[in-house]
């Protein structure tokens, strides 16, 4: 049975998105992509470092993997649009992950500016994936503004604390007509499985893979967990019960 994730005009077999931040060495990236089967990966855009090494990160990413540049560093919708246009001019395609963040401690996205940026970039023909604080009304507004998917956070980025915002995400999933990708805070495979069991369409994991002792092995672990959670969601898991329910016959042995 086929079970594709469709975003924009592309079909993805994998429901695990990965990122390129925080790796101790870029050499991990091809292995992570291979072991995880991830088909979409984020990159960021910054001024060239005239005094550092000039390694082109794109060389570490196979052509078959869809690039998802982000607008990190943007403090407003206007800045996000500028970064998105630079990314597209860089040949990265039309996909863009909007990040507009003003809060430098918890790095929570600014939903109001993110809605504006989404509208502007959708009008310019981008496939827009906005990263958002999980507010169901804002998710609706992002959808109306032309988002191709919405990316609510599970907990603060890089915190590895899992789905602290679970109940808001559950409502967003129920209401949404576009794919819901849980981004940020997914620190363990069980978090990823839980998101998928709830009906999320995909998850994005970067920190937990990049900072683990063996990124490729951890990437594979997340990939397995995403498949496990997705399969369980598709089978519609049995309900939770208030009492016990025996799995062996309940009679006494010789009754």
């Amino acid at each position: 049975m086929e079970d594709f994730l469709r975003i924009g005009n592309i079909r993805f077999s994998s429901r695990l998105l990965t990122g390129t931040g925080k790796f101790s060495s870029l050499d991990h990236i091809p292995q992570v992509l291979e072991k995880s089967g991830s088909e979409m990966i984020t990159v960021a855009l910054r001024r060239v470092d005239r005094h550092g090494k000039n390694r082109n990160i794109l060389e570490y990413i196979p052509e078959t993997v869809t690039l998802l540049p982000n607008t990190s560093g943007a403090r407003s919708a206007q800045e996000a649009v500028r970064i998105a246009e630079l990314a597209r001019a860089g040949g990265c395609g039309d996909f863009i992950k909007i990040e507009v963040i003003r809060d430098m401690k918890y790095l929570m996205p600014d939903n109001a500016e993110t809605v504006k940026a989404t509208r502007m970039l959708a009008e310019r023909g981008f496939i827009v994936l906005p990263y958002m604080t999980p507010d169901p009304s804002a998710a609706q507004q992002l959808e109306q503004a032309g988002a191709a998917a919405v990316m609510p956070l599970g907990s603060p980025i890089g915190s590895n604390r899992g789905l602290e915002t679970k109940e808001m995400i559950r409502i967003i999933i129920e209401m949404s007509h576009v794919p819901v990708i849980v981004d940020a805070g997914i620190g363990r495979p069980s978090h990823a499985a839980m998101a998928m069991e709830m009906g999320a369409d995909a998850v994005l994991v970067n920190t937990a893979i990049a900072t683990s002792g063996d990124p490729a092995a951890m990437a594979e672990a997340f990939s397995l967990a995403v498949r496990a959670g997705r399969n369980a969601f598709l089978q519609s898991m049995p309900a939770k019960l208030a009492n016990a329910s025996a799995s062996s016959p309940l009679t006494g042995f010789l009754d």
Binding site: A44, A87, A89, C92
Partner: protein, 65 residues
């Protein structure tokens, strides 16, 4: 000729943006350029001539989540 590259003053003999990128040690393929807030398309890098005082932004892709 004096230019402003990523906010810093740079003196150069280059006459095109493509030459400038190469002279700084980058491959033009891996860099995106803005001249005076306008993005230069890849195919125009060789044909875009520099002028005294141009404000140039050169960016490239880095790791990010």
């Amino acid at each position: 000729m004096e230019l402003f590259v990523n906010g810093e003053s740079v003196k150069t003999e280059c006459s095109t943006i493509e030459q400038l990128i190469s002279s700084l040690g980058f491959s033009p393929d891996s860099v995106v350029a803005e001249v005076n807030l306008k993005i230069v398309k890849k195919e125009n890098l060789a044909g875009t001539r520099l002028k005294e005082g141009d404000r140039i932004e050169l960016v490239n892709f880095v790791g990010g989540g």
